[in-house]
């Protein structure tokens, strides 16, 4: 069977497409049809010729097969050091084979490659730091995902997620109206406590344009409210775009590069329309990677930069604390052992390790912060990165992967984990659900709101009595 009713090569382009695939609960038929999905080897070869150039080919060729990458991989370690989990092995038996066979691979191979690319690698790129030749296996698995996606071999949830970006320019079905209404609702909801609080939509030439993760308006609107409250307290001149507010890109996890470009270009268009001095993104790792680190390249920007300076939420928080825009009430600082989760996407792969620690120095009473081991650039993935959290088919593998973070947290002895990344936050929530180690986990926003001093002129009337 060339292509099925649910499983096919073309991307999801319309709302009907998405609803149709969603109707196939847990992708049962989708995966069944995938077992028969033929590989368009001519197209695969064409794609290789066009996109697999000297960087990747050299990486594949000169790999010394030394195995120094093995211990760098948390999935290798957590899976009882199974040799099949060695990063080099994972790359050589997937992308390596495709390249050596010049695209002449069959369905069975592609199914295997899909399993490797989405359940044995989170594209955290920790291995890149351990390879003597500087081979970045995370990048290669990500590239392989793109090849697999183009042939229709992609986990069901990510095919849908990618379709969502194509149809709604958001990872979930949040329309422009939904978003603007949520902003209005959240401003109203908190107006009493914070007089004058607004969520200004589409203000031109503001100092800050804020972008977020569609899950926030959809499932945790209070996160949007918290962002607004903190900007309000800090006295920022800020805005959100009515369109182009969604910063994430599940399509990046899916390897759907065309959708990645559509998604990020939408944000850049908003930047160009509203001309903010700079953009602040939410507490999300992959969103930062998509919009700030990789996005400029997807959109063909030769300087590798977004249209305006685009910073991660932790950078804004650190700056606000440093400059005194946000002042912490010393009595309310955290006075219990607390640890910090370093997100791979903006720490290892963007260099913000010291920025989050600067924040810690303001909000945690000295002596209570405990580092995980290893940490900073060498920290392990939360266990759910690269789309791993969202794929039902690989839930068992994901849950096993969570043990790494569980043990790292247990070793700190802390009951509180600060996780300024949606994906890490989810993984840590899930590991608590799975292993019940009695921890709490939090974003920065709710923590800050609890401990920040509210300037007199912003307090509600009754408090002034």
């Amino acid at each position: 069977m060339p292509e099925g009713k649910y499983c096919f090569r073309r991307p999801l382009q319309t709302e009907e497409d998405i609803l149709h695939l969603l109707s196939d609960t847990r992708g049962t038929n989708y995966y069944k049809e995938m077992e028969e999905l033929e590989v368009d080897t001519a197209d695969l070869k064409k794609r290789l010729d066009a996109t697999c150039k000297s960087r990747i080919r050299t990486w594949l060729d000169i790999c010394a097969r030394c195995g120094l990458c093995a211990d760098s991989c948390f999935l290798y370690r957590v899976n009882d050091r199974a040799p099949e989990q060695v990063p080099s092995y994972k790359v050589q038996t997937t992308l390596g084979e495709i390249v050596r066979k010049d695209g002449n691979v069959d369905t069975k191979f592609m199914l295997h490659a899909m399993e490797v690319c989405w359940s044995r690698c989170t594209c955290c790129s920790r291995c890149a730091q351990y390879c003597p030749h500087g081979i970045d296996m995370g990048q290669m698995i990500s590239y392989t995902r793109g090849l697999l996606y183009s042939q229709g071999f992609v986990p069901w949830e990510l095919k849908i997620g990618s379709g969502m970006h194509r149809v709604y320019r958001a990872q979930m079905d949040v329309t422009e109206e939904d978003w603007v209404e949520t902003c209005e609702w959240m401003a109203e909801e908190n107006e009493e406590e914070y007089p004058g609080l607004t969520i200004p939509v589409d203000v031109e030439d503001a100092d800050i344009m804020y972008t977020c993760n569609a899950r926030e308006p959809k499932h945790y609107p209070e996160d949007v409210a918290e962002a607004a409250i903190l900007f309000h307290i800090a006295g920022e001149n800020w805005t959100v775009p009515s369109n182009g507010w969604e910063q994430t890109a599940l399509c990046m996890f899916a390897g759907d590069w065309e959708a990645c470009k559509m998604q990020v270009q939408n944000v850049y268009d908003a930047i160009e329309r509203l001309r903010p001095k700079r953009v602040v993104g939410t507490e999300c790792g992959h969103a930062h990677r998509a919009s700030v680190i990789e996005g400029p390249y997807w959109c063909g920007r030769p300087d590798g930069k977004p249209p305006a300076p685009y910073i991660h939420y932790v950078e804004w928080v650190a700056e606000a604390l440093r400059t005194g825009k946000l002042k912490i009430d010393p009595a309310k600082r955290i006075k219990e052992p607390v640890t910090l989760q370093d997100s791979c996407n903006y720490v290892r792969n963007y260099g913000l390790a010291e920025v989050t620690r600067e924040i810690i120095s303001y909000i945690v009473e000295p002596g209570y912060f405990v580092e995980m081991a290893p940490n900073k650039e060498y920290n392990y993935c939360c266990g759910g990165g690269g789309g791993f959290n969202g794929v039902g088919r690989y839930r068992a593998q994901r849950n096993k992967a969570l043990k790494t973070k569980r043990d790292q947290i247990l070793a700190t002895g802390c009951k509180l984990v600060i996780a300024p990344c949606h994906n890490c936050w989810d993984a840590i929530r899930d590991l608590e659900e799975e292993f019940e180690i009695g921890i709490r986990w939090t974003f920065l926003k709710p923590l800050l709101i609890k401990m920040v001093e509210i300037p007199e002129h912003l307090r509600p009337e009754q408090e002034e009595e």
């Binding site: 996109t51 150039k53 000297s54 960087r55 080919r57 050299t58 990486w59 060729d61 000169i62 790999c63 010394a64 097969r65 030394c66 195995g67 120094l68 093995a70 211990d71 760098s72 290798y76 050091r81 040799p83 099949e84 060695v86 080099s88 092995y89 050589q92 890149a128 730091q129 351990y130 390879c131 003597p132 030749h133 500087g134 081979i135 970045d136 680190i293 990789e294 400029p296 390249y297 997807w298 063909g300 030769p302 300087d303 590798g304 930069k305 290892r348 792969n349 963007y350 260099g351 913000l352 390790a353 010291e354 920025v355 900073k376 650039e377 060498y378």
Partner: protein, 223 residues
């Protein structure tokens, strides 16, 4: 035969070796693409170059990178092997003599005792690398016949050379010349091309981390 291998064939081998290596580097650099690699090489060249150097140098120093420090045994094997393979052929007294007599080049050389020590260390390390490949499951699974072949190609000139030094006859000298030519000729055409591509690949990753993954913030490739 000896006359040919230590004479005209030297020119052929050196030409193929040098031109081949240059060709590998040129092909590598020409195949880079700012958009496919997603690294703005040109607009941020100075920053990229700084990190390219950082990326290369820390791995050339024993225990310079975190990876080397975490695997001290492998680090010792690796450096013993590579120091021998690079410096002995380059600065062996006997080679300097040939360079002077046959090619008319004045070439420096190292004391014979040092060369002997480095050769033995290199061969012991080579055997260690083979044992490591066989003993460690995480290395065994990715090892192929090709990897052993390359070890054989690189160790052969050293084994034969050492036997010559210990008084082996004409035959061993011939064997040494043949294996030496073979190794040099193999470099541009096999994975041994990492002799030059190591620098390319490390520089590329250095530029990647320098330009877009932390260099601007003073992080990126923290060893």
């Amino acid at each position: 035969m000896y006359e040919f291998l230590a004479g005209p064939m030297l020119w052929v081998t050196f030409t193929v070796f040098i031109v081949g290596c240059i060709w590998r580097v040129v092909r590598y650099v020409r195949g880079l693409s700012w958009q496919l690699d997603r690294v703005a090489y040109r607009p941020h060249f100075a920053l990229g170059a700084k990190y390219a150097l950082k990326s290369i140098l820390f791995w050339l120093v024993p225990f310079g990178s975190r990876s080397w420090r975490e695997k001290p045994g492998m680090t010792v094997l690796f450096f013993a092997f590579h120091i021998g393979i690079v410096f002995v052929p380059l600065f062996l007294e006997a080679h300097a003599v040939i360079a002077r007599q046959r090619l008319g080049i004045a070439w420096p050389s190292m004391p014979a005792g040092l060369a002997d020590g480095l050769t033995v260390a290199m061969l012991v390390a080579g055997v260690g690398l083979v044992i490591r490949r066989l003993a460690l499951p995480e290395v065994r699974i990715i090892t192929t016949g090709y990897d052993y072949l390359l070890l054989a190609i690189t160790m052969a000139p050293f084994i034969t050379g050492l036997i010559c030094r210990l008084g082996g006859g004409e035959g061993w000298l011939l064997a040494h010349l043949i294996t030496g030519h073979l190794m040099l000729l193999a470099i541009p055409f096999t994975k041994l091309s990492h002799m030059v591509l190591y620098f390319c690949s490390r520089a590329q990753l250095g530029m990647d981390f320098g330009i877009k993954r932390g260099g601007e913030r003073g992080r990126g490739l923290v060893w």
